[in-house]
Structure formats: C-alpha cells, structure tokens
Symmetry: C2
Subunit: 318 residues, 2 copies
C-alpha cells in the first residue's frame, strides 16, 4: 500500500519536462513546481520524464536538479528521481565507502537485501555492476570482515522464492537449528546463514513464529541476549526486516524524528524508498506503536521545501 | 564460437511447426526431419517454434517429442528443444535428487554456475523458482552438506561483473590468501569461498596465473595434494570451469567417449549446452589435447539418430 498520489490522467512526459525546465529557469528555482510534478509521479512516469528531459534539452535531469537544489531537500528529490535500482545501488555503494566501525552504515544494504522483492534486488545487482565495474557482493566481501561478511554476501546474493509457500515441518526443524546456534552462542554458524539467506520470507516468518511458540521468546530477543557485538545487531535487523518491513521502517522513522535533532538521511531513505511500496502500512504501524501519527511527527521535525516534499510523498499534502 | 549451423533464411516458425507435425504423423516418426529442422535452429528460433506449435496444434512440442522419440536421442532432442534456462534448471533439479554420495551429480550445477554468463545464471534461478516452488540455492542448502554447501550456494548465487577488468595487486594478494588456505589444508576457509564466488572470471584467471608464477604449480594441482575428498574434487572442477571452460568441456567429452562404453548423459549435456556457445573452441582444444578430432571420436562411439543429431549440432553433418 503506497502513499504516493498520482493523478488519474498525468500530463505527458514532454509537458512535465517543459514545466520542470521552466521551474529551473531564471534566478530563483521554483521548488514548489518541482515538488508538485515529481512528487506526484510513479517510478515508470519519472523514468519517462528523465528520458524525455534528456532528449529535449540535452542535459541530465538529475544533474540539473543537483545544481538547482540544496540540502536535505536536494538529497531527497535526487534519490526520488533516480531509477530505483540505481538509487539503491548508489546508496549501497556509499554505505560501503564508510569508514565507520559500527554497523549503522550497513543498514541500507540489509534493507535492500531483506525488504525488497527478489526481482528488485536482482536489478540492484545489475545496476551496481554497470555503475561501479564490479559486483555488489564483491565490494561487500572486500570491505566487510567476518563474521558479517558471509551473512551480508549471502543476503544480497539471494533470489528468494516469492510466493507464499510454507512448510511447517521445515519451520519447526529450522527453528530448532536456530535455537541450537543461539544456545551455543555461535551466531556465525553455517546453518544460521543459509537459513536466513535462502528461505523465502513467508517460510522464515513461520520459522520465527515457531521459535517463539516453542522456546518462549521472540528470536530477536534471544539473539540480543547472546551479546552486544555487530553480528548480534545485524542479525536482529535482518530478522526485523524479514519478519515485518512495516514495523522495521516505523522503528527507523521513529528513531529519525525522536529526541533532539532529526536524522535526515534515515528519514529521507525510509520515505523515498517506501512511498511506492508500503508507506501506508508503515504509517498504520507507526500509529499503532506510538499512538501518534507519522505525518505529525515529520511535520513537527522538518521544515521548508524538505517538509513539503516528504509530506507530498506521504500523501498528506496535495 | 558456436558450431550450430543455422540457414541464412530459415523457414517461418509456422512452416517448421507444420513440418514437425508431419514428421510425427502416421506409424513411424520421421527422425531425419526432426534433426534437420531442430538441429539447425538457434535458441530464439526454437522458442518461436515451441510457441507456434502450441498455438497451431494445442499440444506441447516437448511432450510430443517425448512420446515420439526414445533413448539417448530423445533425451538429447528434448534438452535441445527446451528453453536453455529451463533446461539448466531441470538438469540442476535432477542432480539434486540424486542419492549419490559422490560429487559426479554436482558437476552440472558447477558447470551452470561457473561456465555460463551471469545473465544466464540469473535466468536459470528465475526458471528454477517458477518450476519447483523454491529457489535453487534453497534446494542446494537443504541437500548438500558442509563443507560443499557454502561453496555451491555461493557459486549459484553469484552475479559476477562480466567485463574484463583485472587488478594485478588484487590477483597477487588473493593468490596469497588461496595459498595460505592450501598450506593450512583448510579449503573450506571463508576466503577461498568468497574469492571464488564473487570475483569476475577474468580477475580469477589472473589470480590463478599469479599463483602459478609465485608458487610454482597450477593451483588445481596444489589443491589435489590437499587430499582426495569431495571438497578437493569440487574445487578443482570449479577452477577448471572458471579458468578455461573449453579445456574443461573437452575433458568431459574425452571422459565420456574413451574406454569401454560411452557416458551418454555427459556427452549429450556437453554438446547440447555448448553448441551455441563455444563448441568450436572446445573442438579445437580437444584436438590440441588429444591429437584426434572430437567429431571422429563421437562418430566412432555413437550410432543411429543419436549420432546424426550430435554431429548436426557439432556442425559436421549438414
């Protein structure tokens, strides 16, 4: 359930390109027009606009947006205007350049690997090869050290079966395998990796549920008890992403707006990548979890064109 | 360099379908006509024929071939007529059903993973999901035990960068990593797996060459010295497939025709899967290695329609 609102009869890509060109023209940029046009077009329409704009004006729309806009608004509009697989490949590549010792920068890779469709993940890998002259898994293997390496390479390399086929016997036997690894505190166990990296998400949800019923606690909670290392944190994140992308993203959004200051990068990423996927469900989940609306939280925490753009993608601002 | 010979102006799929229908008609089947038509059409033409035949006669061409033909000839024609990704998915699935304790049945999976293009491998994974309601890597993970599991799942999950980009410094450093694992006789080392499963084939060939120059022996030979287990055998096969698919397949073909009796399954697989890819180079390699022609060996070892079909794909019989 997307939040993106697209007009029933959208203007042609040529009309949109002409209006965008006009918005760039002169001294000031007409940000309102940019939000109005791009914030109400789906991925396929934006693709046509990028193509038509290039044909008409012999310049890249993305490059022009880069030179016209600034700050968080610019980042959000650029990510939104890019082809989704290229956008994700770019975010993954940027994450892999990080010198950060923690795992925060790896979030985006886990999100791409565990919350998007097998087909989309494959398109991201194709885009990555075209854009960076090497494969995504190759870069992960070089830049992430064990024990995270095997898990992350496995996750991005997955091409999960995408229909709801669940085997309860498998769920029980694999819940036991996961339990065994948790009890031995050997979370880098080969069984953990292959179960999480090859099973379809419906099967995995059944396995997690089976685990909870048999062993009493949610599996992510038992993993947390194994330690406070990077592997534990990554595994929890993987389980959240697979178990319920809506809950996971409402947590990401909550973390990005609570407290002093806003984590704009996480906020932008969550809104931009999910607006056409499941942002409506994420909003519902957010409300259930926090008894306050995501829209209000974002309106309270952001301002200006950035706020207007995000609320447009959230479907609250027409 | 393919051996398949396709006429400059092939008949239309409708004409081909009509001729095939006629070949099935009556008491005896006209095998010569089947060989003449299907043995001179490329994958895209065969796809159109399958589609057109189904439309015209409301029956599957593959099913009809199954009921009309027999023996090794039947197996070869069916594999040839199938869509290549579906054919490979089927062969991989059959291999995974094997109760064999050895690794001979895994050959086909290694071939698909290491000697075909990243794009083809991806198409095989897609086909596998459609045909068997689970992913290829999921079936491998369930049916192959460690230490082979991690390697095979990694190989089939790869989406290697496919252009000739080689970094000599990486080649040297990864040759040293492989050497280290060989010296410690720890071939299931994580480094071995990720190097073989993520690097592009051109980079890997440079790494193998670097290994030979620095440490004196070809890497496959040093791996052989580590032991006679399944992992050693699989790793050698992987290295042969990556290093030179032509040499690898000329070995497979040699093994299938020498000695008493013929291994028809290997022979059929090698000819059918490579006729449109590099069978010409395999023939040259075969001649260089054995000073005798592959065509002669096959003609001497097979007979009847099966022989006629294989030699048609080999481009020696018009």
């Amino acid at each position: 359930m997307a939040t993106l609102k697209v007009p029933d009869t959208a203007p042609s890509p040529t009309q949109d390109s002409e209006k965008l060109k006009k918005a760039f023209h002169g001294l000031g940029t007409d940000e309102k027009a940019i939000i109005w046009i791009l914030g109400h077009r789906n991925a396929s329409q934006r693709k046509k606009i990028r193509y038509t704009y290039q044909e008409l004006y012999n310049e890249s729309l993305i490059d022009r947006l880069k030179s016209e806009l600034s700050g968080d608004f610019k980042k959000a509009v650029i990510l939104w205007t890019m082809d989704p697989p290229e956008r994700d490949a770019k975010m993954a590549n940027k994450a892999l350049q990080s010198k950060d010792k923690g795992i925060d920068h790896l979030k985006v890779i886990i999100e791409i690997a565990c919350t998007t469709s097998p087909h989309h993940l494959m398109a991201v890998r194709e885009a990555y090869c075209s854009m960076y002259d090497c494969s995504l898994e190759e870069d992960i293997a070089c830049r992430v050290t064990p024990p995270l390496r095997q898990l992350l390479v496995g996750l991005v390399s997955s091409y999960r079966y995408d229909k709801e086929v669940v085997d309860e016997i498998v769920a029980k036997s694999e819940a036991a395998k996961l339990r065994d690894a948790i009890e031995r505190k050997q979370l880098d166990d080969d069984d953990v990796v292959w179960i999480l990296c090859t099973r379809n998400v419906f099967q995995l949800r059944a396995t997690f549920e089976c685990y909870r019923q048999i062993y009493g606690n949610p599996i992510d909670q038992d993993i947390k008890c194994c330690g406070t290392g990077n592997l534990e944190s990554v595994l929890q994140m993987v389980i959240w992403c697979i178990d319920s992308p809506e809950k996971y993203f409402s947590k990401v959004l909550r973390a990005s707006v609570v407290g002093l200051g806003t984590e704009e990068d996480s906020l932008t990423r969550a809104i931009v990548t999910r607006a056409e996927v499941d942002l409506m469900k994420i909003k519902e989940e957010y409300f259930n979890m926090h008894k306050t609306s995501l829209d209000d939280a974002i309106v309270g925490d952001t301002s200006g064109d950035y706020k207007d753009f995000l609320t447009t993608l959230l479907g609250t601002r027409l």
